[in-house]
Amino acid sequence: MPITSADVKSKLAAASWTNRDNVACQILKDASSGDIKSWNVEAVLRLLYNLVDGYRSADDIAALKTLAANTAFQPGSIADAVSIIKTVKSGNPAIQTELKAATVTQLYAAENKRMSFGEGWLYEGSTKGRGQLGQSAYDDVRNTKHFKAEYEAWATRVLIARVLKKSIEGYSDFRQIDWSTYSIVIPSSYGSAVQFTDLEDFVVPAYLAIKMQAATKAGRSAADVMKFGIAVYHGMFASVSAAQTAVGDSVNWAPVEAHLLAIGKKDEVDYVKEVSK
């Protein structure tokens, strides 16, 4: 007989308050890995609550390890995030061919090189984190036109994985859990979201994909869509538009790049090259 999410809830509810951690351990001993994988957010968080409430015994930690190893809510890599983003934007050929996990790490490196002294640890400007994005970018990513459903699913997945890992390590960081509904609270401000690197690892490529989509136009190559997208991501809209007007070409990147270099905007050109290489 498989153990369902509803079974988890009813078994825990039927147990006395003092015995619930033992019941939670027994549920995890009796469940198959397939059962555990099928459990929803509420079931996983109810088990977590009863395993971390009060003293954490060796049995509680072992049960937490079983839960963390088998739950559907696993940590996510940048490559996982990029794969989801490509699926959502499957109709855009440039996003399919040009957006890669390496693009994101190259973008982090390019932003890091350009941060001023103290930025990120002493103070934050209007843009935050390794990808240097602001609230409006975060709002765009969470818009129903773009990645709202996928981001919420991602955030739920990685925040549960994170809290399980921390709980095994003995920490009690439950700030993203609403215990009254046994649900995950997804940060509404980018300042809060960016504290979780795995949330940022979704938001950054998602926002770049949005900018690539907006940079897609007839006659423009996929590689150039990427470069225009990166330029707008980096706040270069005004200088790129002026360059297009100056060279009389609103499709290709090469003449824009040549103009930007001619007027001394080498760092902006370098940024685009570093991210798109």
Binding site: Y123, Q135, A242
Partner: protein, 116 residues
């Protein structure tokens, strides 16, 4: 002590100012070699076409978040036309604020919103 307090106050004000995202709107105009006489109505303001084309970029203090932007062309020869830049398409936001591109044309449709 007083100087230290003043320094901290200025620092706090600077940090607050730096932590807000700009909501300025820059409209980038692409005009024909000889722009016609007339006016443009943009973001509630009326501007002379030839003056605007010389400037190439018009800057406004604020734009209502994510609203479409309409440009109305009123040429002196009687030609009237309108174009709208939609947010996420021709109207974009970057870390410096909102941006839109409009092209003025010598032939119909006379004005159109353009992507970067």
């Amino acid at each position: 002590m007083k100087a230290a307090r003043s320094f901290l106050l200025v620092l706090c004000l600077l940090l607050v100012a730096c932590s807000e995202e700009p909501a300025t709107l820059q409209v980038h105009l692409r005009c024909p070699a000889n722009p016609p006489a007339g006016t443009l109505v943009l973001n509630g303001e009326t501007v002379d076409i030839q003056t605007a084309c010389r400037k190439q970029t018009l800057t406004f203090d604020t734009h209502s978040a994510n609203e479409p932007l309409q440009l109305k062309l009123r040429r002196a020869d009687g030609v009237q036309a309108e174009a709208t830049a939609a947010y996420g398409e021709e109207l974009q936001r970057d870390r410096h604020g909102f941006h839109a591109i409009f092209e003025l044309l010598t032939e119909p449709p006379y004005v159109r919103a353009a992507r970067l």
